[in-house]
């Protein structure tokens, strides 16, 4: 049903076969140029340019990552802060373009990278549902159809027409999560978003993600610092350290090794 409601990108493919590759990363590297000094000024820039003093320090955020995620897989990504997990997710979500290597994805991607991106807090929740929905690629008819469903799941009913700046961060997260998961996406990217909202809503989110997983329609990429949660939800995992792949395999193996490396 969502297929016609959700416009596909030109690269996407609508034919499904079992165990199809949903995400294929080949030798993906990401290099950031860190300027030695901040140059936000035309004059400075041209002086440096003329003097040939424009030096950049290169920072490799990801080094030759290759990864294949098949349809229905639930892949956890673990690693310490700054290891490149979010960069990887952003490349898969199509927000960042890799410096080298290729990243191919299929189908609809629902990025739960940072909940509430694209909300305007001066607007009411009702208005934001349409705004955010349009940014996620939903059509007007689709939002109209599922509007009640979104509101019901987020449980913010009575505050629906209040400007969102008056909302608590938990309520914002509820709405964002509800909008993003109202479809059955082909790929769901979850980046520590479950750490917001109260306990009950966290459980509800996890239940919804489980539901999506069990439908076997959705491929899930899951990033969390909560190793127990990764073990509970994921089937496979990849461990990234300083931008390099340290290990790839079943969740149990990877999480075990990850734990050992940190001495507990």
């Amino acid at each position: 049903m969502y297929k016609e409601a959700f416009p596909k990108d030109s690269e996407t493919n609508t034919s499904y076969s079992s165990l199809e590759d949903m995400i294929v990363l080949e030798n993906v590297s990401m290099v950031f140029n860190i300027a030695n000094e901040q140059l936000n000024n035309l004059k400075e820039y041209f002086i440096k340019l003329v003097r040939r003093e424009l030096f950049f320090k290169e920072f490799l955020a990801l080094k030759n990552i290759s990864l294949t995620v098949k349809k229905g897989d639930v892949m956890g990504i673990v690693g310490v802060n700054g290891s490149g997990k979010s960069t990887l997710l952003k490349i898969i979500a199509g927000v960042l373009e890799p410096s080298s290597g290729t990243c191919t994805t299929k189908g609809i991607i629902a990025p739960l990278i940072e909940l509430g991106a694209g909300f305007d807090f001066e607007l009411s929740a009702r208005e934001n549902i349409y705004l955010n929905g349009s940014l996620l690629g939903y059509s007007r008819e689709f939002i109209n159809q599922h509007f009640d469903e979104i509101v019901e799941f987020s449980e913010v009913g009575e505050f629906l027409d209040l400007p969102m700046k008056n909302y608590s961060s938990g309520m914002v997260a509820r709405i964002a999560f509800s909008i993003a998961t109202v479809i059955v996406p082909d790929v769901l990217i979850v980046d520590e978003t479950l750490a917001v909202g109260d306990m009950f809503f966290q459980e509800k989110c996890e239940a919804r993600i489980k539901e999506l997983i069990e439908s076997n329609e959705t491929t899930v990429l899951f990033v969390s610092h909560d190793i127990v949660q990764v073990e509970r939800i994921c089937k496979k995992a990849i461990w990234i350290d300083h931008g390099e792949e340290k290990m790839q395999g079943t969740t149990l193996e990877v999480c075990e090794a990850y734990r050992l490396s940190h001495g507990n």
Binding site: P7, K8, L42, A93, P111, A117, D120, L131, L135
Partner: protein
């Protein structure tokens, strides 16, 4: 292939509509007169400038209030849309960093939003033409050229907006610089004074000012009831397309790096 391109366009159009309606709601939220300001603003501005130029500097222009408001509103369409567009990419930073979205939409949205505002200010223009004109202006069929002029304007403003919004990502100086450029441009465009006042060499240079052509085009069709002619149409279209091409080229070549600088 054609089908998928179509749906992607549909998606972008829906985003555009949402962004424009958002801007509209926010612009007039908590103001008593609300949307009436879009009409009142050009009217009041015209009154102020009209007062200045009727008492202090006097030009021999028939129907000066009409002459003034036609030029002012059209110039403001360009000035407002480009001034807003300069920061459109920077302002959408949180979105660009998190969601895959066609970045072209942001500068385009500012232009279309101002176009809607311009549409509303036409009410003020019409009011001045009906109640202020002495001698009375009889609208001619040439007024039907207005949509065509607006197409030129939108192409032109979009081109400028694409250029400015992408440059501003890398050099924030552009934001400040553009304010000054707009002020200078206001004075080098014959908005308050007649072109005949200028020395011949100035008139020659004026030919390179796109806003001069657009404003004159509008006065020809709305005030003087003349047919703009093929040549003038070609000049306006040419300037618009050239600006658009440059803007689009710069934008497309730099948009991949936006996320690293916003």
């Amino acid at each position: 292939m054609a089908l998928t391109a179509n749906t992607s366009l549909k998606k972008d159009l829906f985003i555009l509509r949402q962004l424009i309606s958002k801007d509209f709601k926010l612009k007039y939220r908590r103001s008593v007169l609300g949307i009436i300001w879009s009409v009142l603003n050009p009217l009041l501005m015209m009154l102020v400038i009209n007062a200045v130029f009727s008492f202090i500097f006097r030009f021999d222009i028939v129907n000066f209030p009409v002459y003034l408001i036609l030029g002012l509103t059209l110039f403001n369409l360009m000035a407002n849309s480009t001034s807003a567009a300069v920061t459109s990419i920077i302002g959408a930073a949180s979105l660009i960093k998190k969601i895959r979205v066609n970045k072209l939409l942001f500068p385009i949205e500012t232009v279309l939003f101002e176009l809607v505002n311009y549409g509303l200010s036409l009410i003020a223009v019409a009011a001045v033409m009906i109640f202020w004109a002495n001698p009375t202006i009889v609208p001619t069929l040439n007024l039907l050229f207005l949509p065509l002029l607006l197409v030129y304007m939108v192409i032109f403003c979009t081109g400028l907006s694409l250029l400015l919004s992408s440059l501003a990502v890398f050099f924030r100086d552009v934001i400040h610089l553009w304010n000054v450029v707009i002020i200078a441009w206001t004075y080098v465009t014959p908005l308050f004074y007649p072109i005949d006042l200028l020395a011949p060499w100035m008139k020659a240079i004026m030919q390179f000012n796109p806003m001069y052509h657009f404003v004159t085009y509008l006065r020809e069709i709305a005030l003087w009831g003349n047919n703009p002619g093929l040549m003038e149409n070609l000049i306006c279209l040419g300037m618009a397309l050239l600006t658009f091409a440059v803007g689009l080229l710069v934008f497309k070549r730099t948009e991949r790096k936006f996320i690293l600088y916003v």
